[in-house]
């Protein structure tokens, strides 16, 4: 009896302390605290003329601090001017939403084991309509409740590895991610899907492509261009396609699974080293560059378009090379480019650079002269094209021949971003002498020697 009461008191005490006034600052925050009111509480606010009853809602971080946000009983949010408020009264206390786990049906026996590793892109979210909060679905049960189809495909585990925006990804995140994937595959998982923010998913796909050597199964990166709290989100369909591909595709390697076009019909599977985000917002932002997608998923079926990929199956040489050198850079050349930018990189201890040259892979005379000196001193300079599509060719014009002479490495049709990741990876895992040769050899389908015309319907 006594302990029960004590617990109640403790609970009350913690709730008092935990009153959530997030987003509110200064006088308004103090006002709420003085009345022991926090987000989720139902209050009656009186102003000079009016009276509002509603739920206190956290304030956006950057919103003005002159208003209190209330959610009215009809579901609408409004802002009530703070300096007009005469009184506030707590009507009903409410704990912040708990997002209780879903009731989970037991995983179906006989299905393969798969894992979804989350890096921060919210592939599945749940909305608290009482306060308007959106929370990512983190656990396997959350995920299954939002995308129940997964439960028919595999026994799915969920692993929350990072919780960061994809622009905050670093080299060390790629290392940790590749190690985690390696361990899951060694444990016998038949499918590995990585959810990732789309902004830097292309870089991450390249990083994993190099770091994971001869994987026995395909590893799929997947993102969404419409966040998953929306009914129209592309997250679920991309995720299902990724899971099916990872479990069933006849090839191995690292791939990206995203919408082929803006319809929710076909999901393209792209080679991890040859895929790039080409649109800021469209669902079909990801395109294979200088090659075509390797497979298309539609209505539960995976249609494989290429047969020259490494085969799925037991790999006798599955290894990881998870290190990345941080002192590398990616620079786009432009008219009037000042080569001292590159020189200062070298002085700061940078070991190499990928250039996005113009057209076939050119830079101005001044830069070419400067590069010659730097390369002589051991700096590595790789050439890609800012055209994105096509191959660099340094033998066509004098400028190009000068660069070749200087020791610039022409990287054919490799994507600038992939080249940047590859240079970092080469320098991270191998001796300096090997790097030039490795940069020029095809390790993870980053080169395509045959560029084709697209089919016209």
């Amino acid at each position: 009896m006594f302990t029960k009461r004590l617990n109640q008191l403790l609970l009350y005490a913690t709730r008092r302390i935990l009153k959530d006034t997030s987003g509110y600052k200064g006088a308004l925050k103090a006002f709420l605290e003085a009345h022991n009111i926090g987000a989720g509480d139902i209050v009656v606010v009186k102003t000079d003329k009016d009276e509002y009853k509603g739920t206190v809602i956290p304030r956006y971080e950057y919103a003005s601090q002159d208003f209190l946000t209330l959610k009215l009983p009809n579901g609408y949010n409004i802002g009530v001017e703070f300096n007009k408020i005469r009184s506030i009264k707590l009507v009903e206390e409410h704990a912040p939403p708990a997002f209780a786990p879903q009731h989970l049906t037991a995983p179906k026996k006989g299905l393969p084991k798969a894992v979804i590793i989350s890096t921060g892109g919210t592939i599945a979210s749940r909305v608290d309509y009482r306060t308007g909060g959106v929370r990512p679905a983190l656990s396997a049960s959350d995920l299954l409740s939002v995308v129940p189809e997964l439960g028919d495909i595999a026994q799915v585990d969920a692993d929350l590895l990072f919780s960061i925006y994809s622009e905050n990804m670093t080299f060390s995140h790629w290392s940790k991610l590749s190690e985690r994937i390696y361990n899951y595959i060694k444990e016998g998982y038949n499918g590995v899907v990585v959810t990732h923010g789309t902004d830097t998913m292309g870089y991450a796909a390249a990083a994993l492509s190099f770091a994971l050597h001869k994987t026995p199964i395909p590893i799929l990166l997947v993102g969404s261009q419409r966040s998953s709290d929306r009914p129209s989100s592309d997250a679920a369909s991309n995720l299902i396609a990724a899971m099916v591909t990872s479990l069933k595709a006849p090839f191995s390697g690292v791939y990206v699974s995203m919408h082929e076009w803006v319809s929710d019909e076909r999901i393209s599977i792209h080679v991890g080293t040859k895929v790039r985000k080409l649109h800021t917002s469209r669902r079909d932002a990801f395109k294979s560059i200088n090659t075509s997608p390797v497979a298309v998923y539609k209505d539960g079926e995976l249609n494989v378009l290429r047969n020259d990929l490494p085969k799925r199956g037991v790999s006798d040489d599955f290894r990881i090379f998870p290190k990345f050198e941080e002192k590398v850079s990616l620079i786009k050349f432009y008219p009037g480019f000042d080569p001292s930018i590159i020189e200062s990189l070298y002085q700061k201890g940078y070991k190499g650079l990928v250039l996005e040259g113009t057209g076939l892979g050119h830079v101005n005379k001044l830069t070419a002269d400067s590069l010659k000196k730097l390369i002589r001193d051991g700096f590595i300079v790789c050439m890609t094209s800012q055209c994105i599509y096509g191959r660099v060719r340094l033998t066509v014009y004098d400028t190009g021949r000068d660069l070749l002479d200087a020791g610039v490495l022409p990287l054919e049709d490799m994507l600038p971003e992939t080249a940047f990741v590859k240079l970092s990876w080469c320098l991270g895992n191998f001796e300096r002498e090997e790097v030039s040769k490795m940069m020029r050899s095809n390790i993870a389908n980053e080169y395509n020697s045959r560029l084709l015309l697209e089919e016209v319907e």
Binding site: A63, G79, R226, D264
Partner: protein, 644 residues
């Protein structure tokens, strides 16, 4: 049994509305005419051609504790996908849900605030755009963006104060083009058009007064000159309830004269359902005891001659039957036209893509014989007082079967809250369950909008004067009679009328008649007058003003324009109405006088009548009659004088 309940409602009177405790809430959705859409820079125009099609599926997002909205679940379980028709003129990536929304259209915000001020409503000083979950496919995002503009206020109608609940600004939904069993087709042109939504508090006034309220509210909106005009630019939703039950919402009533009919039908239907629930309870029945479970009776009907059954069996459907204890006579009983339990069940079946239901009160029938009915009754253990219904369903229609059964169970609850659609004659039809509490969360892509005093003051200057003052203004300023002034104010052409009055020398009465009575008469002829937009009509009036078209032929030119979809100039050319200059007119008149010189000499000025007829025969429609008479009189006078 077969006791007919109190049918005094057949002609509903004020008293009977009180008796059923009728309450009606009116919601008006009015498109704004502010140039562009609410969250992108697309023009608000309708387009017919589709440049491309997009296929999408919506997925209900789950709220905490796994709460699922009944309407959302219903839509998801129907497994429909959506096809969106896209035209480059009327939509961009925003409508396709392929680009974040642009900042809110401030002209639309100002228009909504102006409406709020006109209704004496309290304007919210910081606006929050919300996402309201709607997953019937009419929004590509799966939600409708909506913002609460103001709370409270009132509309004055015939001395009554009708309280306003809320005024909000929202994006219009995509236009439904086609509904098929497993997909819907929408056009994206209407998606994102700004709408102001005015929700009035439920009132106990009679249905005709509700129509009157809607008319007055529509007038007030049009007086702001900020709203779109024409068919489909204003829609009424009606929340109708009886005996304090939860209301059913009839969505999308487009014509005002339908409002009283819809309310009357709903009052009768809901009151009947209320009486039936009491009747069932009076029989000592409960839903658990009365509503059976589905029994597969396919085998019993395998060799019948019924075409319906044969067709169902051919489509590999299973025939399910369910016993309804104590329902004999109840399913087919129809106290008012199209108010019966059988129809309630059939509507739910059809909304789920099934053909309908067959029930015991209409069997034997539909080619099913007495003997076959007996067989079914034996299997179901149906006794004298009991009824049953049959459904033809495929293996994946489980949700449909459950929904029909749930509807039957709800006969014990009285009228249940539903979303319904109006039919052309004022009856209503079930469309889906009513959504639960509004599922809203903030639209984080749009910053909060502060409503400053300056903004309020700016809108205040645009608040229209009361109707009666405006009417008087038009009567005195334009010398219109009150009927004509009312007509032009209620028409879709008020702005054009004013423009034409200031840009031409034509009489306001002529313009008002042309814009109201002439166009109405064309509509009565069955001519689609939607082609007559402001620009085309003003062009026509300018031709009349410059004497190139006579006033008499305006109706014919309008008709020709509508039927052939051509502008006024082209219509004139094609119709051979080439306006006659005064010179030509004079020469025609001189010729007519010459050839009738004896008549002129004999009858002097009195010859005018006869000559006028002869001249008009040649120039009718090509020159104004008044002009003809002036010139003719002049010339007769000249001739007679020169003779002297």
């Amino acid at each position: 049994m077969n006791t007919i309940p109190d049918c005094s409602l057949k002609r509903l009177s004020r008293v009977s509305y009180d008796k059923v405790e009728l309450k009606t809430g009116l919601e008006i959705h009015q498109q704004l005419d502010v140039g562009t859409k609410l969250f992108c820079d697309c023009p608000t125009i309708e387009t017919d051609v589709a440049h491309t099609k997009i296929l999408r599926r919506l997925r209900p997002t789950q709220s905490e504790l796994g709460q699922i909205d009944p309407a959302a679940l219903y839509e998801f379980k129907k497994k429909k996908f959506n096809v969106y028709l896209y035209n480059q003129t009327s939509a961009c990536l925003v409508e396709c849900d392929e680009e974040p929304p642009h900042p809110i259209n401030m002209n639309a915000v100002k228009a909504a605030i102006t409406v709020a001020l006109a209704l004496d409503s309290k304007v919210v000083r910081e606006l929050h755009v919300m996402r309201k979950i709607v997953i019937d496919g009419s929004n590509t995002t799966g939600f409708q963006r909506t913002v609460l503009i103001a709370l409270g206020g009132s509309l004055k109608v015939d001395g009554m104060d009708i309280p306003v609940q809320t005024i909000s600004l929202e994006e219009d939904a995509a236009r439904i083009i086609e509904e098929k069993e497993n997909y819907r087709v929408f056009s994206l042109d209407r998606l994102g058009v700004p709408l102001v939504e005015i929700a009035l508090a439920p009132t106990t006034v009679d249905p005709v007064t509700v129509e009157r309220i809607a008319l007055e509210l529509g007038r007030l909106l049009r007086l702001t000159k900020l709203v779109a005009r024409g068919l489909g630019t204003i829609r009424q939703d009606l929340n109708v309830s009886v005996h304090d039950f939860k209301p059913s919402e009839v969505k999308g009533v487009q014509r005002l004269d339908l409002i009283p009919k819809v309310i009357e039908y709903e009052a009768k239907r809901q009151d009947y359902l209320f009486k039936v629930s009491n009747e069932l309870k009076a029989k000592g029945l409960t839903a658990e005891k009365a509503i059976g479970t589905y029994v597969d009776v396919t085998k019993l009907l395998e060799d019948v001659s019924s075409q319906i059954v044969k067709k169902a069996l051919k489509e590999d459907k299973t025939i399910y039957a369910i016993k309804l204890v104590g329902f004999r006579g109840l399913l087919g009983r129809e106290p008012f036209p199209d108010v019966r339990l059988g129809l309630e069940l059939a509507d739910v079946a059809r909304a789920h893509g099934l053909g309908g239901v067959l029930h015991s009160d209409e069997l034997p029938g539909y080619g099913i014989s007495k003997e076959e009915v007996k067989r079914i009754e034996r299997v179901l253990k149906v006794r004298e007082d009991d009824g049953f219904y049959l459904v033809f369903a495929s293996s994946d229609d489980e949700e449909a079967l459950n929904a029909i059964r749930r509807r039957a169970i709800a006969f014990f609850e009285g009228p249940i809250p539903e979303t319904r659609g109006p039919l052309a004659d004022g009856r209503t039809k079930y469309s889906r369950p009513r959504p639960g509490a509004a599922r809203m969360y903030p639209e984080t892509d749009i910053p909060l909008i502060k409503v400053t005093d300056e903004l309020i003051n700016e809108c205040m200057t645009r608040v229209p004067k009361p109707w009666i003052e405006v009417l008087n203004y038009y009567v005195t300023t334009y010398h219109l009679n009150e009927k004509l002034a009312t007509q032009i104010l209620d028409s879709n052409y008020l702005s054009l009328f004013e423009k034409a009055c200031s840009e031409t020398n034509l009489s306001p009465t002529f313009l008002a008649v042309s814009l109201t009575e002439l166009i109405v008469s064309l509509t009565r002829e069955g001519v689609d007058t939607s082609f007559l937009d402001d620009v085309r009509l003003l062009e026509l009036f300018k031709l009349v003003d410059s004497g190139q078209v006579s006033k008499e032929s305006v109706l014919d030119v309008m008709r020709y324009m509508c039927q052939n979809k051509v502008g006024s100039e082209a219509a004139l050319k094609a119709m051979g109405i080439k306006a006659i200059s005064e010179e030509v007119l004079r020469s025609i008149i001189l010729r007519v006088i010459d050839s009738n010189i004896r008549l002129v000499e004999a009858q002097k000025e009195r010859s005018f009548g006869a000559l006028m007829g002869l001249v008009m025969r040649e120039v009718r429609g090509k020159v104004d009659g008044k002009k003809v008479s002036t010139v003719l009189r002049e010339e007769i006078k000249n001739r007679l004088e020169s003779k002297r």
